[in-house]
């Protein structure tokens, strides 16, 4: 990725690369130096709270808007539009021509990306059958429910069998059944060999789907790694129930221990739980129950975003 030099379709293990992207709207800096490298054939999540700069980052990567500074590469092309025929995109703001039939809408989106109209129509019909929308192939978009139209749009972004699929908040507006269907569709595309980049602020989807993820907050990337690595940024949490209800065990527990009914909740010390367990038994408090678990992506996200906000407030 050399700034200023146009590259077209240079093979890379990273279909999406961004280096230090910056974008401001007026005086507001929406994205402040975000760098990403999305590995080939993975499902990659861009996570962040509302207004974090996820959509702006994706739009810059796709070439819809240009960054103020920084470089980007999409499927080896320094100008993202050079690769647009190999990319599928579902924007956050869904939109289709209301008077088009579902089949034509899919074919139209494919045609924009270089797919022959007839092929697009044929594939669209097959995909709609597979998605359980076979009854609505010739139905106009304006006659469909919002969820159905959204699914049609997603199929339209996949009809040309892209190498890279970019989905901006794909689960919003879908009922749980369709969300599950979409998750299966995304996995299917990954299994086909496509790379999927999607943004969300719903952690459960990211936790189930993502091979790798980045967390963006305040326009900056705060974390990059696997789900396990994100969860690994938080210490283990213990849920301890002594044999006798007494406050005497408190003295042996870590400083952050808090009582919740019969149990004590606290962070497991960095050296591990073994020493603590030994001390509690020796002191006669016994162990009626002990659960040690790794916090979820949700907690990791909240902590990372919280730290980012605290930094922002301090600045």
């Amino acid at each position: 990725m050399q700034p200023g030099k146009r590259t077209i379709g240079v093979p890379s293990d990273f279909p999406v690369q961004a280096d230090n992207l910056v974008k401001s709207f007026g005086k507001a800096r929406a994205v402040n130096g975000v760098s990403l490298a999305v590995p080939q054939g993975m499902i990659y999540g861009v996570l962040g709270p509302n207004g974090a700069g996820k959509t702006t980052t994706l739009r810059m990567l796709l070439g819809i808007i240009d960054p103020d500074s920084g470089t980007r590469s999409l499927l080896g092309c320094s100008h993202p539009r050079d690769a647009s025929d190999r990319v599928g995109y579902l924007p956050e703001e869904r939109g289709l021509y209301p008077n088009m039939t579902a089949q034509d809408a899919i074919a139209f989106m494919g045609a924009l990306r270089g797919l022959d109209w007839k092929t697009g129509q044929a594939r669209g019909a097959v995909m709609m059958e597979a998605a359980g929308l076979g009854h609505a192939i010739t139905r106009k978009i304006k006659q469909m429910s919002k969820g159905m139209a959204q699914l049609v749009q997603l199929l339209g972004s996949l009809v040309h069998q892209p190498e890279l699929i970019v989905l901006d908040e794909p689960f919003s507006g879908l009922d749980p059944i369709n969300q599950q269907h979409l998750e299966a569709l995304v996995r299917g595309e990954r299994d086909r060999g496509a790379t999927i980049l999607f943004s969300t602020h719903v952690m459960s989807h990211a936790e189930r789907l993502c091979d790798r993820l980045a967390i963006i907050a305040g326009g900056e990337r705060r974390f990059e790694g696997t789900v396990a690595e994100a969860r690994g940024t938080l210490a283990l949490r213990a849920h301890y129930v002594p044999c006798a209800r007494s406050d005497e065990a408190r003295a042996l527990l870590p400083a952050d221990a808090v009582r919740e009914g019969e149990a004590w909740l606290f962070t497991v010390p960095p050296e591990g739980p073994e020493g603590l367990v030994t001390r509690l038994i020796s002191a006669g408090h016994g162990i009626a129950g002990l659960t040690i678990e790794r916090p979820g992506l949700h907690e990791a996200f909240v902590r990372i975003v919280g730290e980012a906000r605290a930094q922002g407030d301090a600045a």
């Binding site: 819809i64 808007i65 647009s84």
Partner: protein, 401 residues
């Protein structure tokens, strides 16, 4: 480049079908029928008013019985050469001046001029604006006196009138042909290109613009939309041209006026060039309207922004009309070169200049400007609507550096 045009064609196809497949297109196609119908109604009403007004107008001579017949004969004879309000000969009373005053003040009768007194020294009273009517009465008096001096009036010459079709177009005819070309191209463009202003409104309202902008360069989106709407305009023109051609073929004499056009470049080439210049005029004006429509956030914005463009377009029409009337002047050259007036002025040029090369250059020049306007419109759209880039001027500054 092939990919660019292919993407533009996808958008053009969608837009064309989206318009043509709707029932409102039929209304659009038949709009001239309503226009002609109301035009005819309005025109016939206006002509009735005008005819009524002219039939009420009179001129009068207060004369003795001796002069009355001679005056009527002279008036009839003069009407072979010209026209004037109906002549009334009123028998002279004791006070002709008072009679004249009464006639001029008669309610319901519109006497423009009244003559009385001896024919050698008549007094002619007339409305300030009716000097011609007064002079007509003078002519009538002259004719009576001349006939008395020379005997009964008669024509001296015995011409044989032989109507011939023009073998060679005169300068006046060529200029008239040029003017017809300017008016035709201008009217068609003004009627049809204005639709481009709302063409991006649909995409903006239903959020499709994001899909288009991600897949296709905005320049291709703009070009596709222009071509799509031009297809609609072409269908409109083809429909009406076909219909009128059919009428001309079936009803003898209806095509005489078209056949009378005598452009220097030849009628077939003139018609082809007219079609090409209509295309360029549509593309140029359509691109401007499209750019404005893309930037406008509301219908009110569209109306406010369209008004100056329409005024500009009227100015271009005026410029091109001058060029048609005064070919080979510096004003005509300017009109031929200035991009927005060029299609009209060059369409007129075909009427008086037989060379083809200037037209090829003009078409290339106008195509370049279509591309430039689309480019600017796309940049402004990207900056104003998609909020990307540093704006047109910042971008020009960057390129310059």
């Amino acid at each position: 480049m092939t990919r660019f045009f292919r993407q533009g064609a996808v958008i053009a196809r969608r837009d064309f079908l989206a318009v043509v497949k709707t029932p409102t297109f039929l209304l659009f196609l038949l709009a001239p029928v309503f226009m002609l119908m109301f035009g005819w109604l309005g025109g016939s009403g206006a002509s009735q008013v005008a005819e009524g007004a002219s039939s009420l107008s009179r001129i009068a001579v207060i004369a003795s019985d001796r002069d009355a017949d001679g005056l009527r004969t002279a008036d009839n004879r003069m009407r072979d050469y010209g026209d004037a309000p109906r002549l009334m000969v009123v028998p002279a009373g004791p006070d002709p001046m008072e009679q004249a005053k009464t006639l001029l003040e008669t309610p319901g009768a519109d006497y423009l001029a009244v003559m009385y007194g001896p024919l050698e020294e008549p007094v002619i009273q007339h409305e300030e604006s009716s000097l011609k009517a007064a002079i007509w009465l003078q002519g009538v008096a002259d004719q009576v006196l001349l006939s008395r001096r020379r005997g009964p009036p008669d024509t001296l010459s015995r011409p044989a009138f032989q109507p011939l079709k023009a073998q060679r177009a005169g300068v006046g005819m060529q200029r008239q042909t040029g003017y017809v070309a300017v008016v035709t191209v201008f009217m068609l463009t003004l009627l049809l290109a204005g639709q481009a202003v709302g063409m991006l409104a649909e995409e903006k309202s239903n959020k499709v613009i994001e899909i288009l902008a991600a897949a296709v360069p905005l320049e291709a989106v703009f070009l596709g939309k222009l071509v799509g709407m031009f297809g609609v305009a072409l269908l409109f023109v083809a429909f009406w041209s076909g219909l009128l051609s059919g009428i001309m073929l079936l009803v003898p004499g209806t095509g005489d006026e078209l056949a009378a056009l005598a452009p220097a470049i030849g009628l077939p080439a003139f018609l082809v060039l007219g079609a090409l210049y209509f295309t360029m005029a549509y593309m140029l004006l359509g691109a401007v309207f499209l750019g404005i429509g893309g930037l406008a956030a509301t219908v009110r914005d569209i109306q406010m922004l369209s008004f100056p463009v329409t005024i500009l377009q009227m100015a271009m029409f005026g410029l091109a009309t001058v060029a048609a009337g005064q070919p080979q002047t510096s004003m005509a050259r300017f009109a031929e070169i200035f991009p927005l007036s060029s299609p009209y002025a060059m369409a007129a040029r075909g009427a008086h200049d037989p060379s083809l090369t200037p037209h090829l250059l003009a078409l290339a020049w106008q195509s370049l400007w279509v591309a430039i306007i689309i480019w600017i419109a796309a940049r402004l759209f990207r900056h104003g609507v998609l909020r990307s880039g540093g704006g047109l001027f910042a971008m020009i500054g960057r390129k310059a550096r």
